[in-house]
Protein backbone atom coordinates (compact mmCIF):
# COMPACT_ATOMS: atom_id res chain seq x y z
CA UNK A 1 0.00 0.00 0.00
CA UNK A 2 1.27 3.37 -1.04
CA UNK A 3 1.85 5.88 1.70
CA UNK A 4 -0.57 8.75 1.57
CA UNK A 5 2.18 11.29 1.15
CA UNK A 6 3.74 9.70 -1.90
CA UNK A 7 2.08 11.75 -4.55
CA UNK A 8 4.03 14.05 -6.80
CA UNK A 9 3.59 17.66 -5.90
CA UNK A 10 3.60 20.17 -8.69
CA UNK A 11 2.41 23.16 -6.77
CA UNK A 12 4.89 25.96 -6.15
CA UNK A 13 5.13 27.37 -2.66
CA UNK A 14 7.08 30.54 -2.03
CA UNK A 15 9.85 30.07 0.47
CA UNK A 16 10.05 33.52 2.06
CA UNK A 17 8.63 37.04 2.24
CA UNK A 18 4.97 36.47 2.81
CA UNK A 19 2.08 38.82 3.19
CA UNK A 20 -0.17 37.30 5.84
CA UNK A 21 -3.92 37.35 5.22
CA UNK A 22 -5.94 36.44 8.28
CA UNK A 23 -9.14 34.45 8.55
CA UNK A 24 -12.31 35.79 10.18
CA UNK A 25 -13.22 32.45 11.67
CA UNK A 26 -9.71 31.49 12.74
CA UNK A 27 -9.20 34.82 14.49
CA UNK A 28 -12.56 34.47 16.11
CA UNK A 29 -12.34 30.94 17.41
CA UNK A 30 -8.65 30.00 17.34
CA UNK A 31 -6.67 33.23 17.53
CA UNK A 32 -3.79 31.30 19.08
CA UNK A 33 -3.35 29.26 15.93
CA UNK A 34 -2.58 32.34 13.83
CA UNK A 35 -0.31 33.62 16.55
CA UNK A 36 1.71 30.44 16.71
CA UNK A 37 1.93 30.23 12.93
CA UNK A 38 3.49 33.69 12.74
CA UNK A 39 5.75 32.85 15.62
CA UNK A 40 6.99 29.64 14.04
CA UNK A 41 7.67 31.34 10.74
CA UNK A 42 9.43 34.30 12.23
CA UNK A 43 11.22 32.80 15.17
CA UNK A 44 11.71 29.15 14.41
CA UNK A 45 12.17 29.24 10.64
CA UNK A 46 13.47 32.77 10.33
CA UNK A 47 11.12 33.86 7.58
CA UNK A 48 9.85 37.29 6.74
CA UNK A 49 6.09 37.48 7.07
CA UNK A 50 4.17 40.71 7.32
CA UNK A 51 1.06 40.99 9.45
CA UNK A 52 -0.56 44.13 8.08
CA UNK A 53 -3.15 45.93 10.20
CA UNK A 54 -5.02 47.40 7.25
CA UNK A 55 -6.33 44.22 5.69
CA UNK A 56 -9.97 43.48 6.18
CA UNK A 57 -12.11 40.44 5.75
CA UNK A 58 -12.18 39.33 2.15
CA UNK A 59 -15.97 39.03 2.65
CA UNK A 60 -15.83 35.47 1.31
CA UNK A 61 -18.50 34.25 3.73
CA UNK A 62 -20.76 37.02 2.47
CA UNK A 63 -19.87 36.09 -1.09
CA UNK A 64 -20.66 32.41 -0.65
CA UNK A 65 -23.83 33.17 1.27
CA UNK A 66 -24.74 35.28 -1.75
CA UNK A 67 -25.22 38.71 -0.25
CA UNK A 68 -21.95 40.06 -1.64
CA UNK A 69 -21.95 40.22 -5.44
CA UNK A 70 -19.00 38.84 -7.34
CA UNK A 71 -17.88 42.29 -8.56
CA UNK A 72 -17.65 43.54 -5.00
CA UNK A 73 -15.84 40.41 -3.95
CA UNK A 74 -13.33 40.88 -6.76
CA UNK A 75 -12.74 44.48 -5.66
CA UNK A 76 -12.24 43.35 -2.06
CA UNK A 77 -9.71 40.77 -3.19
CA UNK A 78 -8.07 43.43 -5.32
CA UNK A 79 -7.67 45.56 -2.20
CA UNK A 80 -5.86 42.76 -0.37
CA UNK A 81 -3.52 42.45 -3.35
CA UNK A 82 -3.02 46.22 -3.35
CA UNK A 83 -1.97 46.22 0.31
CA UNK A 84 0.48 43.48 -0.52
CA UNK A 85 1.82 45.36 -3.52
CA UNK A 86 2.22 48.46 -1.40
CA UNK A 87 4.25 46.42 1.07
CA UNK A 88 6.44 45.30 -1.82
CA UNK A 89 5.50 41.67 -1.38
CA UNK A 90 4.48 39.13 -4.00
CA UNK A 91 3.70 36.07 -1.96
CA UNK A 92 0.45 35.72 -0.09
CA UNK A 93 0.12 33.43 2.91
CA UNK A 94 -3.57 32.86 3.43
CA UNK A 95 -4.92 31.65 6.72
CA UNK A 96 -8.46 30.98 5.51
CA UNK A 97 -9.57 28.31 3.09
CA UNK A 98 -12.58 30.29 1.87
CA UNK A 99 -10.33 33.23 1.08
CA UNK A 100 -7.78 30.95 -0.50
CA UNK A 101 -10.38 29.46 -2.84
CA UNK A 102 -11.78 32.92 -3.46
CA UNK A 103 -8.42 34.45 -4.40
CA UNK A 104 -7.78 31.61 -6.80
CA UNK A 105 -11.25 31.89 -8.27
CA UNK A 106 -10.83 35.61 -8.85
CA UNK A 107 -7.40 35.11 -10.43
CA UNK A 108 -8.84 32.44 -12.73
CA UNK A 109 -11.70 34.70 -13.77
CA UNK A 110 -9.27 37.53 -14.50
CA UNK A 111 -7.18 35.23 -16.60
CA UNK A 112 -10.13 34.08 -18.67
CA UNK A 113 -12.05 37.35 -18.69
CA UNK A 114 -9.59 40.27 -18.65
CA UNK A 115 -12.51 42.70 -18.71
CA UNK A 116 -13.41 41.51 -15.22
CA UNK A 117 -9.91 42.36 -14.02
CA UNK A 118 -10.16 45.77 -15.59
CA UNK A 119 -13.48 46.31 -13.86
CA UNK A 120 -12.01 45.30 -10.51
CA UNK A 121 -9.03 47.61 -10.99
CA UNK A 122 -11.35 50.45 -11.86
CA UNK A 123 -13.64 49.82 -8.90
CA UNK A 124 -10.69 49.66 -6.52
CA UNK A 125 -9.11 52.76 -7.97
CA UNK A 126 -12.32 54.76 -7.80
CA UNK A 127 -13.06 53.65 -4.27
CA UNK A 128 -9.63 53.79 -2.68
CA UNK A 129 -7.16 55.11 -5.24
CA UNK A 130 -5.15 51.92 -4.76
CA UNK A 131 -3.48 49.85 -7.48
CA UNK A 132 -2.25 46.32 -7.31
CA UNK A 133 -0.12 43.77 -8.97
CA UNK A 134 -1.20 40.20 -9.27
CA UNK A 135 0.63 38.12 -6.65
CA UNK A 136 3.26 35.75 -7.89
CA UNK A 137 2.38 33.13 -5.39
CA UNK A 138 -0.64 32.44 -3.27
CA UNK A 139 -0.17 29.78 -0.65
CA UNK A 140 -2.40 28.62 2.06
CA UNK A 141 -0.59 28.69 5.38
CA UNK A 142 -0.78 24.90 5.47
CA UNK A 143 1.26 24.87 2.26
CA UNK A 144 3.99 26.75 4.06
CA UNK A 145 3.97 24.39 7.01
CA UNK A 146 3.99 21.55 4.48
CA UNK A 147 7.01 23.05 2.74
CA UNK A 148 8.93 23.34 5.97
CA UNK A 149 7.60 20.20 7.59
CA UNK A 150 10.99 18.55 7.66
CA UNK A 151 12.64 21.66 9.13
CA UNK A 152 9.99 21.65 11.80
CA UNK A 153 10.56 17.95 12.36
CA UNK A 154 14.22 18.70 12.98
CA UNK A 155 13.36 21.36 15.52
CA UNK A 156 10.68 19.21 17.09
CA UNK A 157 10.64 18.45 20.78
CA UNK A 158 7.87 15.92 20.43
CA UNK A 159 7.01 13.31 17.88
CA UNK A 160 3.49 12.26 17.01
CA UNK A 161 3.97 9.02 18.85
CA UNK A 162 1.75 7.43 21.42
CA UNK A 163 4.33 7.04 24.13
CA UNK A 164 2.08 4.65 26.00
CA UNK A 165 2.19 2.10 23.20
CA UNK A 166 5.21 3.26 21.26
CA UNK A 167 3.16 3.35 18.09
CA UNK A 168 2.56 6.38 15.89
CA UNK A 169 -0.52 8.42 16.71
CA UNK A 170 -3.43 7.56 14.42
CA UNK A 171 -4.48 10.80 12.82
CA UNK A 172 -7.37 11.38 10.41
CA UNK A 173 -7.37 14.53 8.37
CA UNK A 174 -10.02 16.76 6.94
CA UNK A 175 -9.12 18.94 3.98
CA UNK A 176 -11.43 21.93 3.63
CA UNK A 177 -13.36 21.71 0.38
CA UNK A 178 -12.22 25.03 -1.02
CA UNK A 179 -8.55 24.17 -0.56
CA UNK A 180 -8.31 21.78 -3.49
CA UNK A 181 -11.75 20.99 -4.87
CA UNK A 182 -12.17 24.22 -6.79
CA UNK A 183 -8.68 24.16 -8.25
CA UNK A 184 -7.16 20.72 -7.70
CA UNK A 185 -3.82 21.85 -9.08
CA UNK A 186 -3.61 24.48 -6.33
CA UNK A 187 -3.71 21.91 -3.55
CA UNK A 188 -0.91 19.56 -2.58
CA UNK A 189 -1.84 16.19 -4.04
CA UNK A 190 -4.93 17.47 -5.81
CA UNK A 191 -8.57 17.07 -4.96
CA UNK A 192 -8.77 13.32 -4.68
CA UNK A 193 -5.77 12.10 -2.72
CA UNK A 194 -4.86 15.30 -1.00
CA UNK A 195 -1.66 14.92 0.93
CA UNK A 196 -0.95 18.28 2.46
CA UNK A 197 -1.94 17.21 5.96
CA UNK A 198 -1.02 13.55 5.73
CA UNK A 199 2.50 14.48 4.66
CA UNK A 200 2.80 16.84 7.64
CA UNK A 201 1.54 14.14 9.98
CA UNK A 202 3.91 11.53 8.60
CA UNK A 203 6.86 13.92 8.65
CA UNK A 204 6.30 14.42 12.35
CA UNK A 205 6.09 10.73 13.13
CA UNK A 206 2.37 10.18 13.11
CA UNK A 207 0.30 7.76 11.08
CA UNK A 208 -2.09 9.25 8.60
CA UNK A 209 -5.26 7.17 8.51
CA UNK A 210 -7.52 7.05 5.49
CA UNK A 211 -11.30 6.68 5.98
CA UNK A 212 -14.13 6.41 3.46
CA UNK A 213 -15.66 9.85 3.92
CA UNK A 214 -12.32 11.62 4.06
CA UNK A 215 -13.23 13.90 1.17
CA UNK A 216 -16.72 14.70 2.39
CA UNK A 217 -17.54 18.28 3.33
CA UNK A 218 -17.72 19.21 7.03
CA UNK A 219 -21.10 20.75 6.31
CA UNK A 220 -20.51 24.47 6.86
CA UNK A 221 -22.64 25.25 3.82
CA UNK A 222 -22.35 28.99 4.61
CA UNK A 223 -26.06 29.87 4.68
CA UNK A 224 -26.80 26.51 6.22
CA UNK A 225 -24.80 27.31 9.32
CA UNK A 226 -25.51 31.01 9.37
CA UNK A 227 -29.28 30.53 9.73
CA UNK A 228 -30.06 28.63 12.87
CA UNK A 229 -32.97 26.63 11.46
CA UNK A 230 -30.78 25.31 8.66
CA UNK A 231 -28.02 23.91 10.82
CA UNK A 232 -29.26 20.33 10.51
CA UNK A 233 -27.46 20.19 7.19
CA UNK A 234 -24.22 21.14 8.83
CA UNK A 235 -24.41 18.65 11.66
CA UNK A 236 -25.60 15.86 9.35
CA UNK A 237 -22.50 16.18 7.23
CA UNK A 238 -20.15 16.23 10.17
CA UNK A 239 -21.96 13.25 11.60
CA UNK A 240 -21.37 11.35 8.42
CA UNK A 241 -17.67 12.02 8.75
CA UNK A 242 -17.54 10.99 12.40
CA UNK A 243 -19.39 7.77 11.65
CA UNK A 244 -16.96 7.04 8.89
CA UNK A 245 -13.84 7.66 10.97
CA UNK A 246 -15.09 6.01 14.15
CA UNK A 247 -14.03 2.43 13.28
CA UNK A 248 -10.45 3.59 12.75
CA UNK A 249 -10.15 4.80 16.38
CA UNK A 250 -8.25 7.99 15.55
CA UNK A 251 -6.28 9.75 18.26
CA UNK A 252 -7.03 13.12 16.75
CA UNK A 253 -8.42 14.96 13.75
CA UNK A 254 -6.17 17.41 11.94
CA UNK A 255 -7.90 20.10 9.95
CA UNK A 256 -6.94 22.53 7.28
CA UNK A 257 -9.74 25.03 7.30
CA UNK A 258 -10.64 27.28 10.23
CA UNK A 259 -14.34 26.59 9.77
CA UNK A 260 -13.90 22.84 9.63
CA UNK A 261 -11.74 22.99 12.73
CA UNK A 262 -14.53 24.74 14.58
CA UNK A 263 -17.32 22.51 13.24
CA UNK A 264 -15.63 19.21 13.84
CA UNK A 265 -14.96 20.38 17.39
CA UNK A 266 -18.40 21.79 18.20
CA UNK A 267 -20.56 19.28 16.34
CA UNK A 268 -19.06 16.44 18.34
CA UNK A 269 -20.37 18.18 21.40
CA UNK A 270 -23.80 18.83 19.85
CA UNK A 271 -24.12 15.24 18.60
CA UNK A 272 -23.25 13.96 22.04
CA UNK A 273 -26.01 16.11 23.47
CA UNK A 274 -28.53 14.93 20.87
CA UNK A 275 -27.66 11.29 20.55
CA UNK A 276 -25.82 10.65 23.78
CA UNK A 277 -22.80 9.24 22.04
CA UNK A 278 -19.29 10.18 21.03
CA UNK A 279 -17.19 8.74 18.27
CA UNK A 280 -14.01 8.44 20.28
CA UNK A 281 -14.71 5.57 22.60
CA UNK A 282 -14.56 7.91 25.58
CA UNK A 283 -16.66 10.77 26.86
CA UNK A 284 -14.36 13.47 25.66
CA UNK A 285 -14.60 13.15 21.89
CA UNK A 286 -11.83 13.15 19.32
CA UNK A 287 -9.51 16.15 19.78
CA UNK A 288 -9.50 18.44 16.75
CA UNK A 289 -6.39 20.45 15.98
CA UNK A 290 -5.39 22.64 13.11
CA UNK A 291 -2.00 22.11 11.49
CA UNK A 292 -0.65 25.27 13.13
CA UNK A 293 -1.72 24.10 16.55
CA UNK A 294 -0.21 20.69 15.90
CA UNK A 295 3.03 22.31 14.71
CA UNK A 296 3.01 24.34 17.91
CA UNK A 297 2.68 21.19 20.00
CA UNK A 298 5.40 19.38 18.11
CA UNK A 299 7.70 22.33 18.65
CA UNK A 300 6.88 22.30 22.33
CA UNK A 301 4.80 25.45 22.70
CA UNK A 302 2.74 25.72 25.83
CA UNK A 303 -0.69 24.48 24.81
CA UNK A 304 -2.37 27.32 26.71
CA UNK A 305 -0.25 29.89 24.90
CA UNK A 306 -1.53 28.66 21.56
CA UNK A 307 -5.16 28.65 22.62
CA UNK A 308 -5.97 24.97 23.02
CA UNK A 309 -8.15 25.79 26.02
CA UNK A 310 -10.59 27.33 23.52
CA UNK A 311 -11.54 23.90 22.15
CA UNK A 312 -14.70 22.27 23.40
CA UNK A 313 -13.20 18.81 23.03
CA UNK A 314 -10.35 18.65 25.50
CA UNK A 315 -6.88 18.12 24.06
CA UNK A 316 -5.45 16.67 27.30
CA UNK A 317 -5.95 13.02 26.27
CA UNK A 318 -3.78 13.69 23.24
CA UNK A 319 -1.18 15.49 25.31
CA UNK A 320 -1.10 12.55 27.69
CA UNK A 321 -0.55 10.09 24.86
CA UNK A 322 2.35 12.23 23.65
CA UNK A 323 3.64 12.52 27.26
CA UNK A 324 3.58 16.22 26.63
CA UNK A 325 5.07 18.31 29.42
CA UNK A 326 2.40 20.83 30.31
CA UNK A 327 0.83 22.36 33.35
CA UNK A 328 -2.85 21.59 33.63
CA UNK A 329 -3.29 24.26 36.28
CA UNK A 330 -2.38 27.01 33.87
CA UNK A 331 -5.28 26.26 31.55
CA UNK A 332 -7.60 28.92 32.87
CA UNK A 333 -5.09 31.52 34.00
CA UNK A 334 -5.10 34.87 32.28
CA UNK A 335 -2.09 36.72 30.86
CA UNK A 336 -1.28 37.94 34.32
CA UNK A 337 -1.49 34.47 35.82
CA UNK A 338 -4.85 35.16 37.44
CA UNK A 339 -7.67 32.61 37.33
CA UNK A 340 -10.25 33.86 34.85
CA UNK A 341 -13.01 31.42 35.59
CA UNK A 342 -13.58 28.24 33.67
CA UNK A 343 -16.23 26.66 31.46
CA UNK A 344 -19.00 24.83 33.27
CA UNK A 345 -18.30 21.82 31.14
CA UNK A 346 -15.68 20.64 28.65
CA UNK A 347 -15.60 17.60 26.39
CA UNK A 348 -18.73 16.01 25.00
CA UNK A 349 -20.46 13.81 27.56
CA UNK A 350 -20.60 14.30 31.32
Amino acid sequence: MMKNSQVTVTKEIADDNYFYLRSCIRQNFFPGAEKVFLDILKNKLGKNIIDNANHISCTGIGYHSDIVPYETYQAMVARQFALMTEQGLKNAAVSCITSYGGYNEVMKTWKEFPEEEAKARKNLKNATGRRFEIPENISHSCDIIYKFRHDIAELAQYKLINKQTGKPLRIVDHIGCHYAKIFPEKGIGGAEQNTVLSAIVEAWGGQSVDYPERRHCCGFGFRHYLVKNNRSYSISNSKKKFESMEPYCPDMIITNCPGCNMFLDKWQYALAKIEGKTYSGDKNGIPVLSYEELAGLVLGYNPWDIGLQMHQVDVEPLLKKMRFDYNPDEKYLDAGGKFMGQPEFTGCLP
Binding site: N229, R231, S236, I274
Partner: protein, 115 residues
Amino acid sequence: MSQFDFLKPKSRQIEFEQFDDRILTFVLERERSFLTCISCGGCTATCSAGNLTSFNIRKIGLSLRRGSINDLSDEIQKCMFCGKCTLVCPRDINIRNVVLLIKKRIAQLESEKTL
Protein backbone atom coordinates in the same frame (compact mmCIF):
# COMPACT_ATOMS: atom_id res chain seq x y z
CA MET B 1 -32.18 18.39 25.31
CA SER B 2 -34.72 20.83 24.03
CA GLN B 3 -32.12 23.47 23.21
CA PHE B 4 -31.02 21.26 20.28
CA ASP B 5 -34.48 20.70 18.86
CA PHE B 6 -33.55 22.67 15.77
CA LEU B 7 -30.99 20.03 14.82
CA LYS B 8 -32.20 16.95 13.03
CA PRO B 9 -29.37 14.93 11.51
CA LYS B 10 -30.72 12.82 8.64
CA SER B 11 -29.93 11.44 5.21
CA ARG B 12 -31.87 10.58 2.09
CA GLN B 13 -29.09 8.69 0.41
CA ILE B 14 -29.99 5.35 -1.12
CA GLU B 15 -28.10 3.06 1.22
CA PHE B 16 -27.59 -0.20 -0.56
CA GLU B 17 -26.45 -1.85 2.62
CA GLN B 18 -29.89 -1.28 4.10
CA PHE B 19 -31.59 -2.83 1.09
CA ASP B 20 -35.12 -3.91 1.92
CA ASP B 21 -35.81 -6.63 -0.61
CA ARG B 22 -39.04 -7.98 0.82
CA ILE B 23 -41.21 -6.62 -1.94
CA LEU B 24 -38.68 -7.04 -4.72
CA THR B 25 -38.13 -10.74 -4.05
CA PHE B 26 -41.84 -11.35 -3.83
CA VAL B 27 -42.40 -9.67 -7.18
CA LEU B 28 -39.48 -11.29 -8.95
CA GLU B 29 -40.43 -14.76 -7.82
CA ARG B 30 -43.80 -14.32 -9.45
CA GLU B 31 -43.07 -12.02 -12.38
CA ARG B 32 -39.64 -12.59 -13.83
CA SER B 33 -40.16 -10.23 -16.72
CA PHE B 34 -39.63 -7.40 -14.21
CA LEU B 35 -35.92 -8.25 -14.27
CA THR B 36 -35.50 -6.77 -17.70
CA CYS B 37 -36.73 -3.24 -17.04
CA ILE B 38 -34.44 -0.63 -18.55
CA SER B 39 -36.17 2.36 -16.98
CA CYS B 40 -36.98 3.84 -20.36
CA GLY B 41 -39.99 5.62 -18.91
CA GLY B 42 -42.41 4.65 -21.67
CA CYS B 43 -44.82 3.40 -19.04
CA THR B 44 -44.76 6.69 -17.18
CA ALA B 45 -45.20 8.67 -20.35
CA THR B 46 -48.38 6.85 -21.30
CA CYS B 47 -49.76 6.33 -17.80
CA SER B 48 -53.40 7.35 -17.29
CA ALA B 49 -52.94 7.90 -13.59
CA GLY B 50 -49.70 9.76 -14.27
CA ASN B 51 -51.70 12.11 -16.46
CA LEU B 52 -53.75 13.09 -13.44
CA THR B 53 -51.13 13.00 -10.70
CA SER B 54 -47.43 12.86 -10.00
CA PHE B 55 -47.63 9.09 -10.09
CA ASN B 56 -44.49 7.70 -11.72
CA ILE B 57 -44.58 4.00 -12.34
CA ARG B 58 -40.98 3.90 -13.54
CA LYS B 59 -39.80 5.35 -10.26
CA ILE B 60 -41.84 2.82 -8.36
CA GLY B 61 -40.08 -0.02 -10.10
CA LEU B 62 -36.81 1.68 -9.48
CA SER B 63 -37.46 2.24 -5.78
CA LEU B 64 -38.20 -1.43 -5.55
CA ARG B 65 -34.96 -2.36 -7.23
CA ARG B 66 -33.08 -0.01 -4.92
CA GLY B 67 -34.77 -1.50 -1.90
CA SER B 68 -36.25 1.79 -0.75
CA ILE B 69 -39.84 0.83 -0.13
CA ASN B 70 -40.90 3.26 2.55
CA ASP B 71 -43.01 5.63 0.53
CA LEU B 72 -44.27 3.00 -1.85
CA SER B 73 -47.53 2.08 -0.15
CA ASP B 74 -49.19 5.42 -0.79
CA GLU B 75 -47.80 5.89 -4.25
CA ILE B 76 -48.78 2.50 -5.67
CA GLN B 77 -52.41 3.14 -4.76
CA LYS B 78 -52.59 5.70 -7.53
CA CYS B 79 -52.36 3.15 -10.34
CA MET B 80 -55.64 2.70 -12.22
CA PHE B 81 -54.71 -0.62 -13.73
CA CYS B 82 -55.67 0.47 -17.24
CA GLY B 83 -52.81 -1.50 -18.78
CA LYS B 84 -51.45 1.11 -21.16
CA CYS B 85 -48.00 0.70 -19.64
CA THR B 86 -47.99 -2.99 -20.36
CA LEU B 87 -49.06 -2.28 -23.90
CA VAL B 88 -46.19 0.10 -24.61
CA CYS B 89 -43.38 -1.61 -22.67
CA PRO B 90 -40.47 -2.32 -25.03
CA ARG B 91 -39.33 -5.19 -22.85
CA ASP B 92 -42.76 -6.82 -22.61
CA ILE B 93 -42.90 -6.54 -18.87
CA ASN B 94 -46.23 -7.49 -17.36
CA ILE B 95 -46.47 -4.26 -15.39
CA ARG B 96 -50.05 -4.77 -14.29
CA ASN B 97 -49.03 -7.94 -12.55
CA VAL B 98 -46.07 -6.16 -10.99
CA VAL B 99 -48.40 -3.54 -9.58
CA LEU B 100 -50.85 -6.15 -8.33
CA LEU B 101 -48.03 -8.05 -6.65
CA ILE B 102 -46.64 -4.93 -5.04
CA LYS B 103 -50.06 -4.07 -3.67
CA LYS B 104 -50.52 -7.56 -2.39
CA ARG B 105 -47.14 -7.67 -0.72
CA ILE B 106 -47.59 -4.28 0.87
CA ALA B 107 -50.95 -5.42 2.23
CA GLN B 108 -49.24 -8.49 3.69
CA LEU B 109 -46.43 -6.47 5.25
CA GLU B 110 -48.89 -3.96 6.62
CA SER B 111 -50.99 -6.67 8.18
CA GLU B 112 -47.81 -8.04 9.76
CA LYS B 113 -47.07 -4.46 10.84
CA THR B 114 -43.57 -4.71 9.46
CA LEU B 115 -43.70 -1.95 6.88
